[in-house]
């Protein structure tokens, strides 16, 4: 019963990936299909790794990932603790908070473009009247990157919140009650009962968000198209540009494989960290 799935996934993911692995060793442009690919060995990789712009793409991606995952983690976890105790209307607040992550990144990008607009955007107006500074949100390098990070955080910080909250809510009640009877202070209760319970979930949230923001494309493409200059040109955008604007298919395939390697290294790093974290603290309690 898994056969149809296997066929489809092979045809649309595995086979194309092998094809592009092959192409990454060729000089080839999809624009000129009649011109046969020319084998160049590792030339595409060598070119990418020695080109300084590749490294600035890596840095831009790193800034984006660190900034948005960091911010999403801080805000998400704080929100979870804020919403931990039940109150009237919690359901409605949760509905409002989870709505952003269900929207199209394209739509979210467009919302924020409207808010950041240099002449009539709300945020532009607010920063001008409240702080007295004219921030060209998407027109200067640093604010543009911050603008993208804010948009991504708006969409996904509730995801971190949701995971953390589900951990908090499923923490064993009898342990919490016992802690109260034993007059364990808040910090002790947190450290020995709540934290071990939510830690794996927070790790999962960070892992998923890291992978997602590493490959974030739509939002940035809509908001800045990589600009101003190349301030928000991440690897994902560069790949699109090399592949579908310069039609340098061989090089784009090589870049795709560099990205894949980076994703694999990153996720293994996290998984190792996660398995270490989950093996130590629970043993103490």
């Amino acid at each position: 019963m898994l056969a149809p799935t296997a066929v489809l996934l092979f045809g649309l993911f595995i086979f194309p990936l092998l094809w592009s692995l092959g192409l990454s060793f060729y000089r080839y442009s999809a624009l000129r299909p009649q011109q046969a690919p020319r084998f160049v060995g590792f030339e595409n990789y060598a070119w990418l790794l020695t080109d300084s712009s590749t490294w600035s793409r890596f840095i831009a991606t790193g800034v984006l990932v660190a900034g948005s995952v960091g911010l999403q983690f801080l805000i998400g976890v704080s929100l979870a603790f804020l919403l931990y105790r039940d109150f009237k209307g919690r359901k409605i607040v949760l509905s409002i908070l989870i709505a952003p992550m269900m929207m199209a990144p394209v739509a979210a990008g467009a919302f924020f473009k409207l808010i950041y607009d240099p002449t009539f955007g709300v945020l532009t107006y607010l920063t001008k009247t409240l702080l007295g500074v004219q921030v060209g949100w998407l027109e200067k390098s640093a604010p543009a990157m911050l603008g993208v990070i804010i948009a991504d955080t708006w969409m996904w910080s509730p995801f971190v919140m949701l995971l953390t909250l589900s951990g908090l809510l499923s923490a064993p009640k009898h342990l919490l009650e016992m802690a109260q009877i034993d007059r364990a202070g808040r910090s002790l209760t947190f450290r020995y009962i709540l934290l071990p319970h939510i830690k794996p979930l927070m790790m999962l949230a960070v892992l998923l968000r890291t992978m997602e923001s590493f490959k974030l494309f739509d939002t940035i493409w809509i908001m800045t198209q990589g600009g101003p200059g190349d301030a928000t040109e991440t690897l994902a955008l560069a790949l699109y540009r090399v592949g579908f604007q310069y039609y340098d298919t061989g090089r784009a395939s090589a870049l795709a494989y560099l990205m894949l390697a980076a994703v694999i290294v990153l996720s293994n790093f996290y998984l190792r960290l996660a398995s270490r974290a989950s093996s130590s603290p629970e043993g103490e309690t």
């Binding site: 898994l2 799935t5 109150f87 808010i115 494309f217 699109y240 592949g243 395939s253």
Partner: protein, 281 residues
């Protein structure tokens, strides 16, 4: 102690307002006239107009088309591709998940991990070879090609999520049914399936959202005939003659309305869905 409680309520209200703001602002913009959109300071109160919505559906549309306007076609395409591919993915995915849950075949864990890993790939890395493949097979700008692609996207997710649901239901009832002479397929269809209805509903809605929102592949592989709303949205936004913000906001409002309704209805499935069934909501 009471001021602390008040502070918390106020804080939560402010945060909820902040998160709701971008959406509300676009919706307000959709009902504004041109002068109100560009007004400085930004206007909260104005006389609403439906003009922007009328403009979406007033362009003539292509000749000989059954659609009254281009946007009517884009909305139709988005809905058709979403429902078509999710239906197929649910049918094959549920069967696959059942197999993975009930038969401990060789290399099962490896197979499941490979299925999951296809979803972890950066989409931009896959888009180049898929583009070449579709061009070779003449699948560019076809409903068939897009449906196949989106089915393939949704399958890993449906399989992982449904497997976690099948793993939870006891297999004894199915075994009893088979003892009484029902076939394995019948046991799956009549006994197991009804018990995971809520899982199917959750997986379907989340896959629908994903397909409804997909941008990158649609932008590469669709043309005028199969174009979906997000592509048209991006084109409206990056138009040469300046952005028609009123029209754009109106399109967005129509585009996200079904999503907002879904968000309100499916809170309880969301967490499990977004983590591939690994975390229960």
């Amino acid at each position: 102690m009471n001021w602390k409680k008040t502070l918390r309520v106020v804080l939560i209200a402010v945060i909820a307002a902040l998160y709701a703001f971008p959406v509300l602002w676009v919706m307000l913009t959709a009902f504004k006239e041109r002068v109100d959109i560009f007004a400085q300071p930004p206007k909260l109160f104005f006389t609403p107009t439906l003009d922007n919505f009328a403009r979406i559906f007033s362009d003539a549309g292509s000749e000989g088309s059954i659609f009254s306007s281009n946007f009517a076609r884009y909305f139709f395409n988005s809905a058709l591709l979403s429902f078509g591919s999710v239906f197929t993915a649910i049918v094959f995915g549920t069967m696959g998940a059942y197999a993975a849950s009930r038969f401990p075949f060789k290399n099962r864990d490896f197979a499941m991990f490979s299925i999951l890993s296809t979803r972890m790939l950066p989409a931009v890395a896959v888009v180049i070879p898929v583009y070449l493949l579709y061009r070779t097979l003449n699948l560019m700008n076809t409903y068939l090609g897009m449906t196949l692609l989106y089915t393939a996207f949704n399958l890993p997710f449906v399989i992982w999520m449904m497997r976690s649901f099948f793993d939870e239901i006891p297999r004894e009832i199915e075994e009893a049914a088979m003892m009484d002479g029902s076939s394995r397929f019948r046991a799956f269809y009549k006994v197991a399936l009804p018990q995971v209805k809520s899982g199917i509903a959750g997986a379907a809605v989340i896959s629908l959202l994903f397909t409804w929102n997909e941008f990158l592949f649609a932008s590469m592989l669709t043309g005028e005939k199969t174009r979906t709303v997000p592509i048209a949205l991006a084109q409206t936004l990056q138009g040469e003659r300046g952005v028609d913000w009123g029209k754009l906001a109106a399109i967005e409002t129509l585009y996200i309305l079904p999503v907002l309704i879904a968000a309100a209805l499916l809170q309880k499935y969301l967490l499990r869905g977004l983590t591939f069934g690994t975390v229960k909501g």
